[in-house]
């Protein structure tokens, strides 16, 4: 809320500078987002109040005139002026040579210089609001209030600071100047001056002219009104217009301006009806009927439905309660009698109505935050008083006050023990009281025992329990002034098994394998869902009711497309380098259609993708090669080192992968995912055709059923030397290397064995392959003799021959 400092000063004495004040307000919870300084460039000597004492025509120009100005202290000046609204007797702002002013033609602040205008020397000028930087108006000069004293520096008269407070939803009381003034008074330890609101009423009795009935007391707990007859509707006085403009409001006419002024002053929205446009002698507060329509003051025809609340006369609705008035009872220049409303409307209903209609107003903003109903008559009387002062007219005797809510003043017990329990420091009741009384709290007890009962100030709707008052004390005392200590209570018992351990192990392994982690958005589109066939045809992906992008309204059922999109985006930027990336994230399985408030199942997936050259392009020393299936497999094997469970790969074709280039991955015989080369039509779809894309797609849940982060299982290394033999074997192509190696490993003298070369070609018969396997012979008990190794060799060949019809290539 924009609050001019000059307005605040009407209610509270402020002796600190505006920056310090803004800081203090921010610290107690009223964040000051910005401060606008008006007139901070003004110089006291060169900008002063002057009076027009003579006005002559310019000899050489019809539109220019030559005013003679009284600058006070016997000083006079004669200048050239083009403003059409200049008149003798006006108090205006005179700028002497050297004044710093905004030049509308250049759009910059400039130093005023004397000028010869059509043959007449002009040393200085009469200023418009725009030139002073206090308004948009440049159509004429700014006319000051008649009471302004000539010679007074403008800085004293018009400079101001506007605080823009950003308020949390619990403080509707500070959506007002007085509410803010109470905070300042509490901070500075000063008092509040309550503005005048008593007025002389006329002979008419309000009850004779109108009555109010509330049909929905829940949504309208209180309705107050006053009647003022024979007012004159006109523009507001300059001071009122000025204050409204500085507060971000547009002046309309004196009646409407006063309702806005009092709303800003007290935080209570008001509305003025043209009394003579009302039909019948009754105001009715009721819910709208089905499809009832009302043209609101913004000239829009609104279709209303229950339980929206309207204000109506005996034949029609005349306002949308707590939100906006109706055109049919608008104040205009012909208006003479007005009915003024200050009521209290339910917060939730106001909010529901304004969001259904998309109509957010200053009034609805305040009501939906919850306003105390005690505020209505206070604001009503203040506005009635101002109308009698500024618009003439006679108020009827008495006010309407229809009040259905129980008269219940809530008392709250506060104790020193609770303050200590929450704040961690003992506070004496007198110190508590000294602070909260400045905020407007009242106490029941005379003296100050360790426990007292207090009532919150009537304008505060956010205080309902003792802890709220603890905050009141703490924030004014200053959070930073309260003590600080470390947690001293015992650390709660924690389960030994941390579910994130396995995942974080995998994440670290992926990074150590040279993979870059990515994180993408959790949403996807229908095309992608269909492309990946990721939802069973009888089910639907979870969709967002109010998506930000209508095409991407589904929660992803698989992580794979996200990683491919990321890969694609990076390939577009960089066609050279190899890409290795992965993501670990949640996917969302379809909701069961019969359980309407069940939660969807969320599962974590791990997807890795590699493509392109295996080394970076700046490599000068080696030739490069494209990454393939075995690079990806190597990464998967790397992941599972350090986790318990035995990894295995079984060839198995599936959608999304090239035929013959895909495998299922098992951990201890539990299927945990797939690995393979991306199908070419998907590579094309994602513009990834320049090199094969190999992906692995793992289910963290499946992994976690088997794997744990392994404790090291130490075994004594052999103290005896090893020797090795390389065996070139001819086998049928169907025999896989794993079968051969595991057969070799069965021999007791074999410590390790692995393939070192594979050959298919002219030197081996059709349908056969040559696999060279290295065998490491080693014993834990002794140095093996050549004889023992030869014997083992022969046994191995025999078993291979027997089991797979494998022979040695060079025997």
């Amino acid at each position: 809320m924009k609050i001019p400092l000059s307005w605040l000063r009407n209610y509270v004495e402020i002796d600190s500078n505006v920056t310090d004040l803004a800081h203090s307000l921010t610290m107690v919870g009223l964040e000051v987002g910005s401060i606008e300084h008006i007139g901070d460039k003004w110089d006291s000597d060169s900008l002063v109040v002057a009076q027009v004492i003579q006005l002559e025509p310019h000899p050489n120009a019809d539109r220019l005139r030559l005013p003679t100005l009284d600058l006070g202290k016997g000083e006079k000046a004669k200048v050239v002026c083009g403003a059409p609204n200049l008149e003798i007797g006006q108090k205006i702002v005179f700028a002497k040579e050297g004044a710093n002013l905004f030049n509308p033609r250049s759009g910059k602040h400039e130093i005023l210089k004397g000028a010869n205008i059509r043959g007449i020397e002009s040393k200085g000028m009469v200023c418009s609001a725009l030139e002073l930087g206090i308004g948009e108006d440049n159509g004429g000069i700014l006319v000051l209030d008649d009471s302004s004293v000539t010679g007074t520096p403008i800085k004293e008269l018009l400079s101001d600071s506007i605080l823009d407070t950003e308020l949390t939803p619990n403080r509707p009381d500070c959506l007002s100047v007085i509410g803010t003034a109470y905070e300042i008074a509490a901070l500075l330890g000063t008092n509040i001056t309550i503005p005048e609101s008593s007025y002389q009423s006329g002979d008419t009795k309000i009850d004779d002219r109108i009555k109010v009935s509330i049909q929905d007391p829940f949504n309208c707990p209180r309705y107050t009104g006053s009647l003022i007859e024979k007012v004159t509707v006109a523009p507001s006085p300059l001071w009122l217009q000025d204050i409204l403009v500085k507060s971000g409001q547009r002046p309309i006419n004196n009646i409407v301006d006063i309702t806005n002024y009092v709303m800003l002053e007290y935080g209570q929205p008001l509305h003025a009806f043209d009394f003579n446009k009302l039909e019948g002698d009754e105001i009715i507060v009721r819910q709208a009927t089905e499809c009832e329509s009302l043209e609101t003051l913004d000239s829009k025809l609104r279709t209303l439905t229950p339980p929206m609340l309207v204000i109506a006369d005996t034949s029609k609705s005349i306002a949308l309660a707590g939100i906006m008035g109706g055109m049919n009872t608008e104040i205009d220049e012909e208006t003479t009698d007005i009915f003024l409303e200050a009521a209290n409307f339910d917060a939730a209903n106001t909010r529901a109505t304004r969001s259904a209609l998309g109509l957010n107003t200053e009034a609805s903003y305040r009501f939906e935050r919850g306003i105390r109903h005690e505020l209505a008559p206070v604001a009503l009387k203040r506005a009635t008083y101002l109308i009698t002062q500024l618009c003439g007219g006679k108020p009827a005797e008495g006010i309407i006050d229809t009040f259905n809510a129980p008269h219940h003043i809530k008392t709250i017990e506060i104790t020193e023990t609770r303050f200590e329990k929450i704040l961690g420091v003992s506070v004496a009741m007198k110190d508590i009281w000294n602070i909260i009384k400045r905020l407007g709290f009242e106490k029941i007890e005379e003296d100050l025992p360790q426990t007292i009962n207090v009532t919150p100030p009537f304008w505060r709707s956010d205080i309902s329990i003792q802890d709220d008052i603890i905050e009141e004390y703490a924030r004014i005392y200053g959070y930073d002034n309260l003590p600080t200590s470390n947690l001293a209570s015992p650390i709660p018992n924690q389960g030994s098994e941390n579910p994130q351990t396995v995942r974080e192990h995998i994440r670290d392994r992926l990074v150590s394998a040279g993979m870059n982690e990515t994180i993408s958005y959790s949403i996807t589109d229908l095309e992608t869902i269909n492309l990946f066939d990721s939802i069973p045809s009888d089910q639907q992906a979870i969709s967002i009711a109010n998506p930000m992008d209508a095409s991407k309204k589904y929660l992803r059922p698989t992580l794979l497309p996200n990683v491919l999109e990321t890969l694609s985006r990076n390939r577009r930027i960089d066609q050279q380098n190899g890409l290795r990336l992965f993501e670990i994230g949640r996917v969302f399985l379809p909701l069961k259609t019969d359980e309407f408030d069940s939660m969807p199942v969320e599962k974590e997936e791990i997807v890795g993708a590699i493509t392109g050259f295996s080394t970076s392009t700046n490599l000068w020393s080696e030739s490069d090669r494209l990454m393939d299936f075995f690079d990806a497999k190597g990464i998967v094997e790397h992941i599972f080192r350090g986790l318990s469970g035995v990894l295995s790969f079984t060839k198995n074709d599936g959608t999304m992968y090239e035929t013959g280039k895909r495998a299922d991955i098992f951990l201890n015989e539990v299927l945990i995912g797939q690995i393979g080369e991306l199908k070419s039509d998907l590579s094309e779809f994602y513009n990834l055709v320049i090199s094969p894309v190999v992906i692995f797609h793992l289910s963290l849940e499946a992994i976690q059923t088997v794997a744990q982060v392994q404790f090291v299982n130490y075994s004594e290394p052999s103290r005896y030397p090893y020797s090795f033999k390389d065996l070139a074997l001819i086998s049928n192509k169907e025999v896989d290397s794993e079968s051969i190696v595991s057969t070799i490993m069965e021999n007791k003298l074999v410590a390790d064995s692995f393939p070192i070369d594979k050959y298919v070609g002219v030197e081996v018969p059709d349908g056969k392959q040559s696999l060279t396997v290295r065998i490491i012979f080693q014993s834990n008990e002794k140095t093996l003799s050549a004889k023992e190794i030869d014997r083992a060799h022969t046994q191995i060949i025999k078993s291979l021959e027997h089991r797979y019809k494998i022979s040695e290539r060079y025997s």
């Binding site: 107690v28 919870g29 949390t168 939803p169 619990n170 917060a347 939730a348 209903n349 909010r351 529901a352 939906e368 919850g370 329990k421 929450i422 704040l423 961690g424 420091v425 802890d467 603890i470 905050e471 703490a474 959070y479 309260l482 003590p483 600080t484 470390n486 947690l487 209570s489 015992p490 650390i491 709660p492 941390n498 579910p499 994440r507 992926l510 990074v511 394998a513 040279g514 870059n516 982690e517 990515t518 994180i519 993408s520 959790s522 967002i544 009711a545 930000m548 985006r569 990076n570 930027i573 890409l579 290795r580 990336l581 969302f588 309407f596 408030d597 970076s616 700046n618 000068w620 020393s621």
Partner: protein, 353 residues
């Protein structure tokens, strides 16, 4: 020729040979020297031949002298030859096999953690060292947990603080029960409902808001929630714990500042800022000239929230906080646009390896 004359000749030959040898720098010159000196018609060979012309009495001694000269010069010759060859080989190697130490080393593919992951880990580790346990929760939440049990009833204006993305599913009364969680705070409720006090947890996770994206706002981001509840937990503990956090993450000279703020599920509520590590509090672009940088919201758990999960608020109290992981990462690494985080540009990500 007597013995003396013979020795003079020998000495002459020796001097001449050694002085000329010292001038020789190439193998070709060395070869001519060898021929001149030790060759078949060389001076030393001539000296040896001349022994037979000497009187018998001195022949033995002269022979020994001549042979020793031959040995010395042969040794000199070999050494000199080795020297020349050696220097030749250094020169040759420098020409053909020179090590350009400024060439780049062989590349080792280096992976990287996403900066969000990195900062989440760092933050959770700080709290884990203070006895908090890291847990996680669902990203699709029930309205009850995301709002109602956190003291945010329907149609409460505080709901505007968390613009929600609702799941397209309606109950009979037209209300929507499910949404993408707008904060990690529902895990306060889920944790307390599932166990008796004491509680000390830290909860990282993705959160979502219906919010236009700009340099400082993302609709999807990661939040880190914290909660400590026990019999004697106070606002002083809140301050102590979060000040310690600020020092460990942003450096031990950092000061934390606490100001009053509002979140419906805490009372008293606070916003925590640190003094600007860039300008030291004088005001700069990073802190928008305030000298302070906001890092999280916090507060004492609201008695209604405690009562709602069956903890007696007269006995138990606690504090909670929530912070944006990306915001902390942006401050730590000096990233000025949050949109980098989920654009997944390798040029961005690889900087965190």
């Amino acid at each position: 020729m007597d013995q003396k004359a013979y020795i003079d000749i020998r000495t002459q030959i020796e001097r001449k040979a050694l002085s000329s040898l010292s001038q020789i720098g190439t193998l070709d010159d060395l070869e001519s020297w060898r021929i001149d000196t030790l060759g078949r018609n060389g001076t030393v060979t001539g000296l040896l031949r001349g022994i037979s012309d000497l009187p018998v009495g001195i022949r033995k001694e002269a022979g020994s002298q001549a042979n020793s000269l031959k040995d010395v010069l042969t040794k000199k010759y070999e050494d000199h030859k080795a020297d020349i060859e050696n220097s030749d080989s250094i020169q040759t190697r420098n020409e053909s096999d020179f090590l350009d130490v400024t060439l780049p080393g062989r590349n080792i593919a280096l992976g990287s953690l996403h900066p969000t992951t990195a900062v989440v880990r760092e933050i959770c580790q700080v709290f884990e060292s203070m006895g908090f346990q890291t847990i996680e929760g669902p990203e699709v939440e029930l309205d009850i947990y995301n709002f109602q049990k956190l003291n945010i009833p329907e149609e409460h204006p505080a709901r505007d603080m968390w613009n929600s993305l609702w799941i397209d599913r309606e109950l009979a009364d037209g209300s929507r029960p499910l949404l993408l969680r707008t904060h990690t705070s529902p895990m306060q409720i889920r944790t307390m409902e599932s166990q008796p006090p004491p509680v000390r947890v830290v909860v990282p996770g993705k959160t979502y808001r219906y919010e236009a994206t700009d340099a400082t706002h993302e609709w999807q981001f990661c939040q880190i929630e914290g909660l400590a509840v026990d019999k004697d937990i106070t606002f002083a503990n809140l301050k102590g714990t979060l000040e310690e956090f600020a020092r460990r993450i942003f450096g031990d000279k950092r000061k934390a500042r606490f100001r009053c703020d509002f979140f419906p599920f805490v009372e008293p509520g606070a916003e925590v800022s640190i003094d600007c590590f860039k300008c030291g509090g004088n005001g700069c672009r990073v802190c928008s000239n305030t000298g302070w940088i906001e890092i999280m919201g916090a507060g004492m758990v609201h008695p209604k929230v405690l009562a709602g999960v069956g903890y007696d608020p007269e006995i138990y109290s606690g504090f909670a906080w929530g912070m944006g992981a990306e915001r902390i990462a942006m401050l730590k690494y000096g990233i000025d646009d949050i949109r980098h985080f989920y654009s997944n540009d390798m040029k961005f990500l690889k900087q965190f390896s």
